[in-house]
């Protein structure tokens, strides 16, 4: 828990002498992309990663939605961190996340109706995405607004990066398309190439994530657990 300050919280950033994109702040944004990736290193948010990675488009919309939800809720909780009663802080976090998710859902329904139908319950399930609550509890409650924003966006981007990567391979090998456009030329199919229908099923998402974890650890050896 941070010490209670008498400074107005809105000025926290300005009073802080640290530059906006100092090395430490940049790390908040970039760490979750690799060293501390929510999916491949912390193994959080796997269920939605399995469900919405059949095609690129929903994966990208989900990424944008999660970035919006995590950025906004991290900022709100960080703004309120000196006001939130300790005993109901989890409830408050849930309410903040749930309202953000409903806002996103309403906006998608108005402006991206087809995608919202496709994502259906998974937008609602952002609420239960452990990454979101985890960052609120572990970071936003104890850090300033700017840092919380970076942390939220960074973690959501790390999650989304994996989502898009998995969706890329699943759509390419499962349907021969990328973003709905045919990539594998017709002549391949005439020569006997067949789309791998297994890629469209959830187990292949898990295997794809597994392969990514393997490659990531082969490249970045400090992630390998000792023991």
């Amino acid at each position: 828990m941070s010490k209670k300050t008498n400074k107005p919280i809105f000025l926290f950033v300005a009073k802080d002498k640290e530059p906006l994109f100092s090395k430490k702040n940049r790390a908040l944004l970039t760490d979750p992309l690799d060293d501390n990736n929510p999916i491949t290193v912390q193994v959080l948010g796997i269920c939605s990663a399995l469900a919405i990675t059949v095609q690129l488009e929903p994966a990208i919309v989900m990424t944008i939605s999660v970035i919006a939800v995590m950025g906004a809720s991290n900022v709100i909780v960080s703004l309120l961190r000196n006001l939130i009663p300790n005993r109901i802080r989890i409830i408050v976090q849930l309410v903040v996340v749930a309202s953000m998710v409903i806002l996103v859902d309403q906006i998608l329904r108005a402006y991206a109706y087809d995608v919202s139908k496709q994502l259906s319950i998974f937008i609602g399930l952002i609420i239960t995405n452990c990454i979101v609550m985890g960052r609120l509890e572990a970071f936003a409650l104890g850090n300033g607004v700017w840092k919380s924003l970076l942390d939220g966006v960074g973690n959501a981007a790390g999650y989304g990066f994996m989502l898009i990567l998995v969706a890329f391979f699943r759509e390419l090998f499962g349907s021969g398309n990328l973003y709905g456009y045919q990539i594998i030329p017709e002549s391949f199919y005439e020569m006997g190439y067949v789309n791998n229908g297994f890629m469209l099923l959830s187990p292949m998402a898990l295997i794809t994530v597994g392969v990514i974890i393997w490659l990531q650890r082969a490249r970045n050896r400090k992630l390998i657990e000792k023991g």
């Binding site: 109901i88 408050v92 409903i102 108005a110």
Partner: protein, 246 residues
Amino acid sequence: MNRDSNAYTFGFAAAMVVVVASVLAFTASSLKDFQQENVRKEKMQNILATIGIEIDRDGAEVLFNEYITSQLALRNDGTVDESVDPFSGIKLALELKKEPTQQRFPLYLADVQGASYYIIPLRGAGLWDAIWGYIALESDRNTIKGAVFDHKAETAGLGAEITQQWFMDRFVGEKVFDNDGKLVGISVSKTNNDPKDLDKNDHEVDAISGATITGDGISDMIIERLTHYQPYLEQTQTTTTVAANM
């Protein structure tokens, strides 16, 4: 200020609820028009899909006005009620709860290159919540031209498969009246021994494994809703169409 006191905790919770409720209510009401517009166009899109016209949502309205020649609000006895707007004035979910004499059911008549179709909206119950759709009959008022289904909360991968094209295509060519002119509807069957749906006179389509209740819901929905239209459909149905099916 003691952040751990009961009064503070209750006060904070109360203020939070009021703020959150206002923000969400404001958003919902300001986006409502856009959302309803999407739903309205999707309805047109679905109606057109039953007669084989695939169009994106934005283009649906133009083609809807082009191909749908008339829209009728029918009473249970088959007469037309001119005072009701069939497209926007009838909500099937509410209509089904009314007294039979008060019920009005929409019927859309379409004309595509000289062929006429009768498009009937459906609504029934799946496993978890409502299912609905549209079914188009050819000019013999018996053979199915096409069907579209949708659902609110059926299980993904099982009941939710009713929205897949391969399932909806199974209904094409099936007949809703039997050879004696009796309304039998279409049964989603687990025992029809015709997995490719080649037999178009058996009034059955092959069910989806693991979606028994949703499938039964579809069978019930088709026969129940068609019953309302039976007087209208039979008004001009000649014996020749029945004979043709023999």
